[in-house]
Symmetry: C2
Subunit: 300 residues, 2 copies
């Protein structure tokens, strides 16, 4: 593998778990000169500087983008439109821009809306990594090791810009994949956005009960794992759900049909049919988990 | 604490994760003389004997119950009726019987139906512990350490029999609670049975898709944790869902109302209302998990 060209100046917009971990991984790989942070609120930026994630904080896009080699947009996707508009006048012809948004169609619409003059160098992507803890304090250099990054290149992208984004994520330890934005948003509605919505919904339902405290006191490790994603960042997930609501509604409706089927089986006390569903699911889930997470004992 | 009287002969019916772990814990505590296993199928019993969980296998309730001090019924709850009927003619007046069923009203109905002459000594209970791996090979002496055991005593129980069941579970490291069977079944419908049904349903829905392989290939740690309980024992969960279907249907309907609300917010792209739900859920979930699982970093 040829040596990866250094990033003399990296700009990260939204220095939380995702942006912070990207900067730390590139620092650890010795690939980054200066890391500049941009964001809405001063506190996380100051914290990120304190933690050694950032070298510098910019409050102004002109300063931030001046001489930038690479920009990672890692704020919640709801800010993409405003950020793309603010960047546009200051973006140089050689700066490569990528993002870490969990949805791709809305991000790409914002790119076309505001960065039409820069499409050669703006390469949308999505790292499949996260944790229910957010913020720069949760950032870690190893977050992307062995994780997938899905790149959804634009037809207008320069091949060299796509290759640059791929090699930088590879340097973080990630495994690269490509998909169309439409396919990306459909797939992640099913395996990520819907489970988040379902977990948020269950905890919200129970937390509003008069006996919520009793209920939670008897909840055990199954409930803990089922609801782990309900501990996620509310604004980030608001933005994802709104941005990808069409695919998410299609998935939710498919799931509601499944629940209607299970409900009918419960009403009829149809044990054999319930067992058939559970056996299918159990087999599929354990086969998948044994393959996808071979190192992790599933009884953890 | 006064010394716990030894169990000269312990009978375990259903020697899987739950029954096997109970026997191992009492063995480790030095509280058990001989452990006798009873069950439908010879293979798990033979495996349990091989693993040192059992000293002896009985194929006959008369032999098994002769001179038994304590009986734990740890088979799926759907077998309770047949097992109680089979035991009844052979149960001695001094043998204490308890169970480990995840539902209590149906177990108690079977007890009244078949063990009416023995109600003084039959004490229903439910250890709140499990793992998605089942069978005797998954059994471990530490399974119940720090876990709750809910006892739902019958009005006819001798206080000494209830005390005996409590002290034996305490010796396994468990923390004892008492509830009415009705309250038990309502609480666990909400925090255990519904999450299992929801997780089984999601995996079943996705596994049946034409692009199931692609979907699973992009599923990550959030999906892994959300679906962990979908790896559980299909027959056991069939029995629980059928036995507790009335409480479970009430919980499912409350959840469907929550999903209908979330669906309406998605249709309207109502970001602020979605964020309010997610923020409530996130706060409740993290507050609970930090308290309930203080030793486990939530980003595991």
């Amino acid at each position: 593998m040829p040596a990866v060209k250094k990033i003399a100046k990296l700009v990260v917009c939204g220095v939380g778990l995702i942006g912070g971990s990207f900067a730390l991984a590139l620092r650890e790989a010795g690939l980054v000169g200066r890391v500049v942070g941009v964001g809405r609120r001063p506190e996380p930026l100051a914290a990120a500087r304190q933690l050694g994630i950032l070298d510098e904080i910019c409050t102004d896009w002109a300063d931030a983008l001046s001489g930038a080699d690479l920009v990672l947009l890692a704020m919640p996707v709801g800010q993409m439109d405003a950020v793309a508009a603010a960047m546009a006048p200051h973006l140089g012809p050689d700066t490569v821009v990528t993002d870490a948004g969990s949805t791709k169609r809305d991000v790409i619409e914002a790119i076309y809306r505001h960065l039409g003059a820069h499409l050669a160098n703006v390469v949308p992507a999505h790292p499949i990594a996260g944790a229910e803890k957010s913020g720069p304090a949760a950032a870690q250099s190893g977050l992307y090791r062995g994780r997938k990054v899905v790149v959804t290149p634009l037809p207008e992208n320069r091949p060299a810009a796509v290759a640059r984004v791929r090699e930088v994520w590879s340097a973080c330890g990630a495994v690269l994949h490509e998909m169309s934005p439409q396919e990306h948003d459909r797939v992640f509605a099913a395996v990520s956005h819907l489970p988040h919505l379902l977990a948020f919904g269950l905890v919200h339902d129970l937390a509003g009960r008069a006996n919520a405290e009793q209920l939670f006191s008897y909840a055990a490790s199954g409930f803990r794992d089922f609801t782990r994603v309900a501990g996620s960042h509310p604004e980030m997930w608001r933005d994802i759900c709104v941005a990808n609501r069409h695919s998410l509604l299609a998935e939710l409706d498919a799931y509601l049909a499944e629940l209607a089927y299970l409900r009918a089986l419960l009403v009829e006390a149809d044990g054999p049919a319930l067992e058939a569903v559970f056996a299918d699911a159990s087999r599929a889930r354990n086969t998948w988990a044994d393959k996808a997470f071979p190192a992790i004992p599933s009884g953890e």
